[in-house]
Amino acid sequence: MINFISIQFLIFATATLILYFLTPIRFRWTVLLVASMFFYACTGLNALIFILLSANTAYVTARSIEDNYNSSTPNQKRNLFTLLSGITITLCFLIYSKAGNALASAISAIFLAKPLTFQVIVPLGISYYTFSIIGYMMDVYRKQQAVEHNFFKFLLYMSYFPQILQGSIPRYRTLAPQLFTGHLFCYKNMCYGMQRMIWGYFKKMVIADRFALISSEVFGNYDSYEGLIFVVAAICATIELYCDFSGCIDIALGFSEILSIHLDENFRRPFYSRSAAEFWHRWHITLGTWFKDYVYMPIVSSHMISKLCQKTGKLFGRHFAKNIMSAIPLAIIWILTGLWHGTGANYLVWGCYWGLIIIFSTIFATDYKKIIVKLHIQTDSIFYKNFQILRTCLIYVISRLITVPGDLRVTWKIIQRIFSEFNIWIFFDESLYHIGLDRKDFWVGTISVLILWKVSSLQEKGVKIRDKIASYPLILRWCIYFASILAILIFGIYGSKQAGKTFIYMSY
């Protein structure tokens, strides 16, 4: 498999870029298709079959819906049936790859004497492209999207390699036109794209993989640690996940930018969020908007929910009905979000955890405001803003404790061990240098996080970092580039001595 963090990828990406710009403009999309297929084939031919089957399903579904609409007697029920069939088939592929083993063991436990075992194929990025094509089919059904008649172009939309690893989840109407229109080489885009890629590599290789050493050491050997060490490890796991995921997205966005293709942003400095709901508007944005458009809105506007509201309104009052109206779709979305991340019980609990926080904060929002007014708290003060930011960060760090250990029983043990000892001295007695990173590595990681924080805070204030760098004199600009690249080459976690981890969201 070609990983973004490999010399093979750099060679592959360079070759793709050269070929792309050497090919006549109207055929440039074919270069991307061939490159994507090659990239995907490197993960295994079985996975390639899966993506072709999924693409074919969505393509046929969309064409059937279109044919029906274009017929003299359009049949909405038939279209709905076609749509549901298409979604069911593509979801079957997803369920097979995500829960194949769990289902097999459950079936064999009930019906068979011998346990049923088989090798489940997990195609790369199946969660991302499945959601993309479900969105596409639904848009076609809603007549919000014209049908793509060229199967290969549709296949390119699905399999565009920079985003197949970890998303984002693209919309056909925003991505496809950019993919199929050949772009001219733009020097500025190349510079900006490379800057973004370098920033992504920095986040992944210098920060994420460095802090991963702490989280894997502590959570992997949780019996050996206690107290605040777990808090430190959970914070490290949070930094790791953010830098890993957003780093990969930066690389994908940066590479696409060189091609003058602008992908959807997936992050907007989530750790500056003042509430859990805002956090999810800034973290994995495309997943959130997908759920909003294709799950939340259909549920909210469904007759069933309306009827339920009417009934509960009559029984318990309007206020209660309104709460039910918002709580049910949110609960469904968060359970689905949990299951999208993984089929284990820990992911279900994780989904419920976020769902409950967001539902309760929605239901009690007015009461909360009243309390703030009574206490005369200035909501615009820096103190209060920082308090809200810290509170959101804390909520996220706790959520990492649910998923990182991999088992709810381990999570429970860890929570017990956190409160077993208040060992605050770990911050002064060099204990932190013995939990996966030595002193020098620890400080490189810390300084890198401070750089990340500074950049994020400038962006949050509206400063466009790349424009700012572009305005510097050439020597200074180049010094920044050289320093960044050399920092990755020297301090990055890679090679046989310090093998970095694969991207976390690749497994989703």
């Binding site: 010399i7 020097y187 030595d438 020098k440 590595d441 050439l474 020597i475 180049w478 580039y481 050289f482 690249i485 050399l486 080459l489 020297i490 301090f491 990055g492 890679y494 090679g495 046989s496 001595k497 310090q498």
Partner: protein, 540 residues
């Protein structure tokens, strides 16, 4: 400061004049060139901390640097690096040779090293150390398995420049040890970037003198306890030659035939046994190769196991000189070499003459000090030591000096000691003799101590007294060299090569002209020198 501004101004003018008007391609090329240059600089800086004492001696660097200049080369494991002295072969026989071995170099890597060597050189003889032939594939796999950093592999493979050879070497490596990350071997930075943690100021300094001696590692140690060597003599592990070993020997023979040079198998370690010898002999006959085993020539080489071994496997410089003498004679008798000493293009050997002389001086001094069987002999050796390169440390223990003779006192005076020890009793006494002069400290009934720092080495000498509670000891760089003996403690430190040449005590409290003794741990015990020659350990 002014010139710096002018320089920046000049660069700015050049940029405006030439680069700005040109297209962006030029700018990109310039950017990539500077980046490549910076990467190479960083790569070279980060490479140095992994170079240990053995790895730094990679002979392949000089093979690339001086093409078509070597008459012979030595391939194989660590014994091919330490047990031969290329400088001696040059100085005495005018032969230019180089060692291309690496510690535990497996045969297949010796084969690819040879191919790379023959791409650059036209030697007449290639010596292959037989230890490499005896390593089984499993042995190598287990060693690499323990060494996650694959340093052993790097030492051989990194120095191969020819892409085709390197690729094949990596392919064979993958066959033997399984999956490997090949980028480690094509990009040094990929492998050594983690060394930023080990960087110190020293790594940025250019070495004063070349730190290699034609691929040799020079060992100064003298294996004092030969009993260990005899244990190693019963080397019982399997040595049946694998088909792979035969394959590579045959390929090496073919390479040498094609290059019109001879492949000679050499066993240059002294714990071989008959079975191994016979197996190699059979192999050499099969491929019509010459075979020389040092164990058959111990008398001829005048090899002394108690003095010429650095450890049970490796020769010290003295041993390597003896073995080089033997091989030098063999080469002179069987081949015709031009005398490289008359060739000005071999100046690099001439430049190393002085260092080599000092190295020989160091090892021979050490041997003499260890060979001294009495206090008088020991003092005689000390009086002949060059004070520029040595520090002599003395501390008295439980001093009564009852049996110190006038002759011995005279020799002590010759060393520069002003205190007449023969008349002293119940006192603490220490002395440090160095190029800075003589530092003595004497204290009646009380302890005495002296400290000195020289060339980054620190010395601490303590002497107890009749009433003092301290123990007499000599510490060098914080490490205890000798402690708790009786009479006079001695330690000799070579400041040129930073090694302890001798540490022992002479119990002149109890004996006249006593033998040297060494306190090993808490108790006392004399050094046991083996007197028997090494003999074949025939297992039948």
């Amino acid at each position: 400061m002014k010139s710096a501004f002018q320089c920046i101004k000049h660069i700015k003018t050049l940029y405006k004049q030439y680069i700005k008007p040109q297209n962006k391609l030029l700018k990109s090329i310039l950017f990539l060139s500077i980046l490549a240059a910076l990467t190479i600089i960083v790569q070279n800086i980060l490479k140095s901390p992994i170079d240990g004492s053995w790895a730094a001696q990679s002979g392949m660097e000089i093979v690339h640097k001086y093409p078509k200049s070597y008459d012979a080369c030595f391939l194989g494991s660590s014994t091919a690096i330490s047990n031969i002295s290329n400088q001696h072969l040059y100085e005495k026989y005018g032969i230019a040779s180089v060692s291309l071995g690496e510690p535990e170099q497996p045969l297949y890597l010796a084969r690819y090293t040879l191919e790379e060597f023959l791409n650059y050189q036209s030697p007449k003889v290639v010596f292959l150390d037989t230890k490499s032939i005896l390593y089984g594939d499993n042995y190598f796999k287990s060693r690499i398995g323990n060494d996650g950093n694959h340093i052993m592999l790097h030492q051989s493979i990194d120095s191969i420049r020819t892409y085709k050879i390197k690729k094949q070497a990596l392919k064979d490596t993958a066959t033997i040890i399984g999956d490997i990350d090949k980028w480690n071997y094509y990009s040094p930075l990929y492998y050594s970037h983690t060394n930023w943690k080990n960087l110190s100021y020293e790594h940025f300094k250019k070495p004063d003198k070349p730190d290699y001696m034609n691929g040799n590692v020079v060992l100064f140690n003298v294996a004092e306890n030969c009993a260990e060597i005899y244990n190693m003599g019963n080397y019982n592990s399997s040595y049946s030659l694998s088909p792979q070993a035969e394959r590579y020997v045959s390929e090496m023979a073919d390479l040498c035939n094609a290059a019109k040079c001879d492949l000679v198998l050499v066993t240059s370690y002294v714990f071989s046994n008959k079975k191994q010898h016979n197996a190699i002999m059979a192999l050499s006959k099969k491929y019509q190769l010459k075979y020389i085993d040092i164990n058959e020539f111990t008398t001829k080489t005048r090899f002394q196991h108690q003095l010429d071994l650095a450890d049970p496997v490796h020769f010290n410089l003295s041993g390597s000189i003896k073995w080089s003498d033997f091989l030098g004679n063999y080469l002179q008798n069987n081949y015709k070499f031009p005398d490289r000493r008359k060739d000005t293009s071999y100046r690099r050997f001439e430049e190393q003459k002085e260092v080599f002389r000092q190295q020989k001086d160091c090892i021979y001094t050490r041997q003499k000090l260890l060979s001294a069987t009495s206090f008088y002999q020991y003092l005689t050796v000390l009086t002949h030591l060059g004070k520029k390169d040595h520090v002599i440390l003395i501390s008295a223990a439980n001093s009564k000096m009852t049996h110190l003779t006038k002759l011995e006192q005279k020799l002590l005076s010759e060393l520069g000691l002003k205190t007449d020890l023969s008349s002293k009793k119940n006192c603490g006494y220490v002395a440090i003799i160095s190029e800075n002069g003589v530092q003595e400290s004497f204290s009646f009934l009380n302890s005495a101590r002296a400290e000195e720092t020289l060339n980054k080495a620190s010395f601490q000498v303590i002497s107890n007294s009749a009433e003092g509670s301290e123990i007499s000891s000599i510490k060098i760089n914080g490490q205890e060299m000798i402690q708790g003996g009786n009479g006079l403690h001695f330690a000799v430190y070579n400041t040129r090569f930073n090694i302890v040449s001798s540490s022992c005590f002479f119990d002149i409290n109890a004996y006249v002209n006593p033998a040297p003794r060494k306190v090993t741990t808490a108790g006392t015990g004399t050094i046991q020198y083996a007197t028997e020659p090494n003999v074949w350990k025939d297992e039948e």
